[in-house]
Subunit: 440 residues, 2 copies
């Protein structure tokens, strides 16, 4: 790989001191940052980039999504969560194909790259297709094959199959891919299945990505069934003994927070979904105070409608301030950390995130020269509150540019739109014929 | 003015039936819509525009802002409202100049046009400068000169001066300007001043734009002082007898809602500000149910940080669904109506808003072909949840294009940025010298 030198940028490091370096350089060798501000004397760049007047900051990590679900964007709006799923989404998903997952994921990847996302944690079906899309695009991703039960379903897979999926992809694509288990949730997976998953995960050192404590009803059902909250139950069944991502965790009680902190569980909140479906407010300030790594996710386009991490950053702040009537919650760079370094951590990429030496060169260039940024009294606030996806000029993952000057370099947009449109037409036709009788 | 024919567009009318017309035409004569869908047989277009594959919808009306305050963007973040004002904003505003208001407003106008805003209700100082900026830009606006007390202050004006300001501008710029009174609020204006303002407003048929019921403390103070809520007090002093815009109205009780409905007061909620400063949740669903016209505002960039009405639409929905745990609140086109036709109504432009015959041709063209819109299962949802300012391609006010293909036609962006930067430097220097002693 060529050695790269990015020069004269304003570098927002998101290091532990939140340092912002004016007119600074970044040296990149073999996909790794070898100099941030201070460039090693013997560093000989093959390519130099003058980024005067531009901001370089860590790329964003979308720590919980169902990328392929772009096919359901706007398909089930203004419905309570149960009707959203039962009346609309699962009926559409019953006609899901590998093809739809491949094209849907690529469409999501386009939207994410264009919005400054460098990595995502995906939780879905037909994950070989997702891996293929990720590899083609040059993105970073953490892949979980969603399983709803103890036995293989039409679109799920068995534990042995999951193990071979994980072994095939964990660490693949020069380390840009991680793979782990994806048991759906304590309410969708039987007790014994979860315990088996946990045992295998510990034995094989495989991570787990799971949903939990999304609604108050789920918590009540768990209490009624097990006399334990969903978080307590998962801990008790051993699900938190490896690298774990818990999506949502909205209705966590004090004991749950202590468990999550103690077990170093990564919690991913999805503000758009939580607000849009009136699911409740995750206890983010308390989680952060407990030392829990809290990251942000867009969730799928079927609920969120968009895959825009700038929105999620802002909503993460706004929903807490609304809920607590406190204008000082999650100030300054806090949301940038949640979307950046905390996200990398949640995705189990421990050498990604902040722009510090020895981390992977996952970064974005933001053009803050547009009038909607003027003036810049406070750069962190400008980035959080003013940036729209269109302001992201360039995106780099592990030293490779995925977008330059808003042009995608690894994905052919028109090819993807064409493939996506054809796959969606097939899925809608299949779904219609399947449910014709049912609707009569 | 040339007669215009816009052809082959998907027209989102926001009429009473929320009709969406595929492959439809719009005929515009002398700034007025003379045909929507059905084009009069004798209509001879001077200019024709093929808008195949594009969406035409009503422009957005920002119904409460302090446009010039772009100068304070990011200047006072992460502070409670009282400290935001007392420690930061008023100290900056103490050095305010006519020049700063002119350039700050033009900068705001650029951001607003680029985001699809066709009109705004402004509440600020040096309003001759704002009128000048609006006239140059071709926008529509409703201007209120903010007054804090009974006597003229350095940056306020007296009632007689306000009357001549209103007479000069109300109906000016071929009807694109309206002007009215801007007493700041019941908590910043003495009782007698408000009563005098109301008396003059009724006698001269002048509207009123005022802030009220922003915080629980303000309501308590009003109850302690007058034994009336701020809304009751304003009603009692006669402030609701002409066209009235009340900004915020967060802490309105049931009696207040009945008053606002009965007096046909226009309520403007500013979701970003309400959430960011933890001010509370306006009772929008109940207001709507009471028949109150509820519009949306960005408030100033000093609090919001942005002037993006797409965000305000989404936040208006999300904040209610979060507060009430109800995913069905403000569904479908509801937020589009709040930002569009309801905004025009609040600005006292009763022949603007929906795309229906005889209304002014205030419209925007949205390009929904980008991947972040695909697929379009539900166009209203796509517009609400997917649109970013950069997706607005063209903007027209009263039959005149203000933006075409993202190029501003009435405002010179580089000239404005230059003028703004110089004015801001002068203001910061003046403010620094003024407060040097104070800070010591």
């Amino acid at each position: 790989m060529p050695k790269l030198l990015l020069e004269h940028a304003t570098v927002v490091t998101l290091n532990e001191e939140d340092e912002i370096l004016p007119d600074a350089s970044l040296a990149i060798d073999d996909g790794t940052l070898v100099g941030v501000g201070h460039i090693p004397e013997d560093f000989m760049a093959d390519e130099r980039y003058d980024l005067a007047g531009l901001v370089v900051m860590p790329g964003l990590y979308n720590a919980h999504t169902h990328a392929a679900m772009t096919f359901a964007r706007g398909y089930a709006e203004d419905l309570p969560l149960d009707r959203w799923f039962n009346e609309r989404i699962w009926r559409l998903e019953s006609a899901l194909s590998a093809d739809m997952v491949y094209w849907g994921t690529l469409l999501a990847i386009i939207e994410m790259i264009r919005g400054g996302v460098v990595g995502f944690a995906d939780h879905y079906f037909y994950m070989h297709e997702v891996a293929k899309a990720v590899q083609e695009s040059g993105m970073r991703a953490n892949l979980a094959w969603a399983v709803f039960g103890s036995e293989a379903q039409e679109v799920g897979i068995s534990i042995p199959e999951t193990i071979s999926f994980v072994k095939q992809y964990d660490g693949a694509a020069s380390g840009r891919l991680r793979a782990l288990f994806g048991p759906h949730s304590p309410y969708q997976c039987p007790d014994t299945f979860l315990a088996r998953t946990a045992a295998v995960a510990v034995r094989e050192n495989i991570g787990i990505h799971i949903h939990a404590a999304e609604t108050a009803e789920q918590v009540q059902t768990s209490l009624d069934t097990y006399d334990m909250s969903p978080i307590e139950f998962l801990a008790h069944r051993g699900l938190f003994e490896t690298h774990t991502l818990v999506a949502h965790a909205i209705h966590a009680n004090d004991v749950d927070l202590a468990i999550l902190a103690n077990k170093r569980v990564n919690v991913v909140v999805c503000p758009s979904t939580h607000m849009k479906y009136g699911m409740g407010v995750a206890r983010v300030p308390e989680m952060v105070a407990s030392g829990i790594n809290v990251a942000l996710g867009t969730d799928g386009a079927g609920s969120n409608t968009a895959l825009n991490m700038w929105r999620e950053m802002r909503l993460a702040v706004l929903m807490q301030r609304q809920a607590h009537g406190d204008a000082e919650l999650l100030p300054g760079c806090a949301p940038l950390h949640m979307a950046g370094p905390h996200g990398a951590q949640a995705l189990n990429f421990h050498s990604s995130g902040a722009l510090i030496p020895d981390n992977t060169a996952d970064l974005i260039v933001v053009d803050t020269s547009a009038p909607h940024f003027a003036p810049t009294h406070n750069l962190a606030a400008s980035l959080v509150w003013c940036t729209e996806p269109a302001d992201v000029r360039d995106v780099m993952v592990a030293g490779t540019w995925l977008m330059r000057d808003r042009n995608l370099l690894t994905v052919d947009e028109s090819r993807v739109v064409k493939g996506f449109t054809a796959a969606l037409e097939s899925m809608l036709a299949a779904q219609q014929s399947q449910f014709r009788h049912y609707d009569d």
